[in-house]
């Protein structure tokens, strides 16, 4: 368990140059989450049309792991259906619990780099924050579609 397993170069790249950082105009699903134990805050926005996540953006304050994870998540979910996105949330969450998962299933190769977080139990919540926001946002939009 070395620090280099946690702070992989690709993670630091997303931390320093976050993708999809920003705010969308109206018409997007917005989920604000925070991690009350550490003070990290994130706001994830998704534009969902015809069951497809067309675009995702985030704003937030947090550590390298939480912001890099948010950057990767927003990049990965673009163009996915709500179900596909929820499947990714599950895959990611299992990877964080240290389960062997097929990382090829991630539409973005970079996400594999977060695998090392599983060895740092105190940091798992940092990595999963943005994904929890995705789960909540996608789940809520799914409910809206289901109800007549």
């Amino acid at each position: 368990m070395s620090l280099d397993d946690l702070y992989r170069r690709v993670i630091m790249d997303h931390y320093q140059q976050p993708r999809n950082r920003g705010k969308m105009e109206d018409g997007a699903v917005t989920v604000d989450l925070n991690n009350p134990t550490c003070g990290d805050r994130i706001s994830v926005q998704m534009r969902i049309k015809d069951d497809t996540i067309e675009e995702a953006k985030f704003l937030g304050e947090g550590c390298s792991i939480s912001l890099a994870s948010a950057s990767m998540m927003t990049e990965a979910v673009k163009g996915l259906s709500v179900d596909q996105a929820l499947h990714l949330v599950d895959l990611f969450s299992r990877m964080m619990q240290g389960e062997e998962v097929d990382t090829d299933e991630f539409p973005l190769e970079d996400i594999e780099a977060l695998q090392g977080v599983a060895n740092f139990p105190a940091r798992i919540k940092c990595a999963t924050l943005a994904w929890k926001a995705l789960e909540k946002g996608a789940g809520e939009s799914g409910e809206r579609l289901d109800s007549p």
């Binding site: 630091m12 550490c38 550590c63 940091r123």
Partner: protein
Amino acid sequence: MNRYAKDFPILGQQVNGNPLVYLDSSATSQKPFQVIEAVETYYKQYNSNVHRGVHTLGSRATDAYEGAREKVRRLINAESTQEIVYTRGTTTALNIVASSYACPRLGEGDEILISPSEHHSNLIPWQQVAKKTGAALKYFTLEPDGTLDLEKAKQAINERTRLVAIAQVSNVLGTIFPVKELAKAVHDRGGVIVVDGAQSVPHMKVDVRELDCDFLAFSGHKMAGPTGIGVLYGKKELLEAMEPVEFGGEMIDHVDLYESTWKELPWKFEGGTPLIAGAVGLGAAVDYLEQVGMDTVAEHDRKLAAYAVKRMEEVEGLNIYGPREDRMGIVTFNIEGVHPHDVATVLDAEGIAVRAGHHCCQPLMRWMEVAATARASFYLYNDEADIDRLVQGLQKTKEYFGNVLR
């Protein structure tokens, strides 16, 4: 290792391949074997319920439970053990004062005055009192270095101020607040003062009669004792006038079908079977600290704080919050460009335990204009070598992030 560290069995271990340097005593302190053994002996030799039963073990348990109360009384120089109520910790103690003292007595037009630096446990209960009673919650203004200007603070206390609640030592800034002077000012206006002693009682001599505080709350686990036990001190006449918060066994005098009466102080506040092992452990912790001497503990704390501030200021790009001088052994800081979680993770890899986050002080973080900070806090088992290790770790953190961020 200093001479006290040898008493703390947990400290002799390796963490991530390095000797542990424990710098998170403000969150919870480590326990000397004297305390661990006292708890073990209780469970092995005289575990029994207190204040009931005629049998020998029950008497031994009661003696130990009440004996620890006398030790606590002596530690804070209360007049009587009737003024020492065992609680689950500081949070519970402060909530008892809020719900049983403040709620029935405060109303519209009254003011509660607290500091923006308070721990959530000495802030949210007063928000709740304000909501329930219509009293206004007001805040002292902190100086830029995280101290109070006594003259300004006195002016903030007026005839509407019914209650001032303040920590004697800030768990983030290390500031020592002038509780004695504030107590006088609030008494002159007819109010009471509630002192959060969670970070002071473990680290310095606290004399409730000298401070003339009305209530004092503190936790056992931050003073070398077990978790789950704490103390509410209250002046006898105030506690006597208060209603119990929890009702049930242990706290009653006479029970009828429709009416009941309460035991006398302090037991009317101790409903249910109490944390007997916790009280026994707390008693052993008080013995331990008194053997070292609270003045020695305080002096050690201040010396380490001064040394830490001096050494940490040598680290370029490191910001220290709170006063530079006259502070207790709590040093909160940030390294420019590195999030405190990342700082704490790199230090942990070096075997150094620090806290990162908002330290249960979200309003204070906003006042400091930071989202989170890292914090190193010291106790009697730490020494200058621990701080040297911390400084090395901080240099390493900077180097590491300098490299991975390049």
